[in-house]
Subunit: 90 residues, 2 copies
């Protein structure tokens, strides 16, 4: 989700902007996710020396390679999850 | 993984055949996964009245729609996970 939000932004996003784009995701979950994505080389982080400092996130080249398969999965979910939920409801 | 193994089989697979195709997946994990996939309408189950009874699994039409995006994700992982692991190793 964070990867796709950053891809849609096509540039940098701040933490608050990311949170707004990802309704329902807690602050803690988002910051853990970003830390993992950064550790894995999929997202880069730039700290602006303002007061208070501002943190900007961006997809790396490696991160950008993950966008097409994630978009494919999201498109599948948007189209078929209603059918899956019907089945699950029994 | 189970979905892709069933897709590769292009027909029915028995539990033991699925387990063999999915190295490292425990019996418990595989049976929970198959139950969830069946509940969600992605996999169908046929019990052959032999002694002991034999259970065969197959992708449903809905399940088959999930194969392309899952293949896309697997191809991404096969190609880029080495790079991600390099980053994660720091």
């Amino acid at each position: 989700m964070a990867v796709l939000s950053l891809a849609a932004a096509d540039g940098e996003l701040r933490f608050t902007e990311l949170r707004r784009a990802m309704a329902g995701v807690s602050q803690k979950m988002l910051s853990q996710t970003l830390k993992a994505l950064e550790r894995d080389g999929l997202v880069s982080r730039r700290v602006e020396a303002s007061n208070p400092p501002r943190v900007h996130y961006r997809l790396t080249e490696l991160g950008a390679t993950l966008v097409p398969p994630l978009r494919g999965l999201r498109e599948w979910a948007e189209r078929y999850m209603p059918l899956v939920q019907e089945h699950a409801a029994g």
